[in-house]
Structure formats: structure tokens, C-alpha cells
Amino acid sequence: MNEFNIMTIAATGMSAQRLRIDVITNNLANSETTRTKNGEPYRRKVPVFQELVRNIKGRVENGGVIVKKIYEDQSPFRIVYDPTHPDADENGYVKLPNVNVVREMVDMINAQRAYEANVTAFNTTKAMINSALQIGR
């Protein structure tokens, strides 16, 4: 039987959400970064999830979730007037990253809740398997 596959599914959910929190933390840490390697301000990064379905000997098996890619948000940068900033252009405007701190915070709480949901799924499955082990005791 595939009792343990259920736990693996919950684990993929947990690691996906943890990676999402990772990315969000990175976005927050770089919310004011005006210099990156390619010369422009930091771009907000977004992980994209995809359902994972394994095909074992012609049988379709659920595998949970996988992080397909981490995209860079192409929306325009924030432009702020600050002539004293070293990276300001000749008119005194600075390009700041397209990170919206409030939005990141909301996303983070969302990811936390989703993580907890996966933990609950894991624990419920554990209780189920334990009860099956008690049969005949």
C-alpha cells in the first residue's frame, strides 16, 4: 500500500511552501537594493508551483507539488525622487525594486498557513497509520 506516499506528498507541500517563504524573505531583504549584478535594481522573484504526478508502470500516482521555476517579476520599478541618493539619475529620480513590502508580508502569512495545512495532513496520516498498527492488539 502507499501509506508513506501520502506523507511524501505532504512533505513536498511543506518544502514548496518553505521555499516560497525563502523567496519572500529574499524579496524583503532586497526591497531597497538598487544595485545588482546586471546593473539594474533588484527584481521581485516569484516561485511557480506545479502539480507533480508520477507515472509508475503505466499507473498514475500522485506526487504532491513541485516548484517549477522562480520567475522574475517584470513589472516596472518604483521611481522615487531622492537627489541625494548615489544611484539617482540627472533629474534626481531613483529606481527602486518592484517589491511591495505589504504584499510580501501577506504572501508570507499565506505561505505559513499553507505550510501548517500540510503539517496537519502529515499528522493526520500518522494518526491513521498508528491506528492501523493497533489492530489486533
Binding site: 501520502i6 514548496a16 516560497r20 505561505a111 495545512a117 496537519t120 494518526a127
Partner: protein, 127 residues
Amino acid sequence: MFNTNFHTLKIAMDVALKRQEIHSQNIANAETPNYKRKYIAFEELLSESKMKLKLRTTSANHISNIKESINPILKTQENTSLTNDKNNVDIDVEMAEMVKNALKYQTLSRLISANIERYNTVVRNIR
């Protein structure tokens, strides 16, 4: 010598486990764009198999009508959308259903234990 209770309970537990897997899959993909919630249609199959259990075979050569296992029908709910990314997993419904399913599984395993206990009573001649 063993009655068919064991068999019915085993099938029910197998499907509860499968359900748990589908719930986990739905919860893991609660934030996946374009993901559609999956579910299992089973109760109707179980009641059908229960009906069949009432039939009797009068000779050992008769083919038993009890199925060895039931292939649960996996369905996908396609038509609804809860969020803008076309995902239709309702996390609250999913959690509630999952806990319900787990309790059902635990009840079934206790029922199997009770069945075994009854045989124990006979074997050990204790009351």
C-alpha cells in the same frame, strides 16, 4: 470460517487511505495555478458490493462474487474556480474532509479489532 466483515472493512480502509492521499494532494496543491481539486466517488461502490455480499454460494466450486478489491473512481472537479489563478481547492473544506476521513479510518480499524476480539473469545473460551 471468517465472515465477510473483514473483507468489507479492508476495502473501506483501503479507500479511506486513498482518500487521504487525494486530500494530501489537494492540500499540497492549494496554491498551484490551474490545479483542479480531485475526489473519490466510492460510497456507491461500497453499497453495491455490500448488496452482493448477501448472495450465497452453495458449492465450493461456485465462483465467489466478492471482488478482491475495488478500484475507486478518481474524479476531478473541473467546472468551478475559487481564485483568480483558476485553482478550486477550498482549503477549509479539504481540511474538514481530511479529518473526517481519518476518524472514519480509525473507527474502521477499531471495528476490525472488535471482530478479531470476538474470535479470540471463541478460541480462548473466555467470557
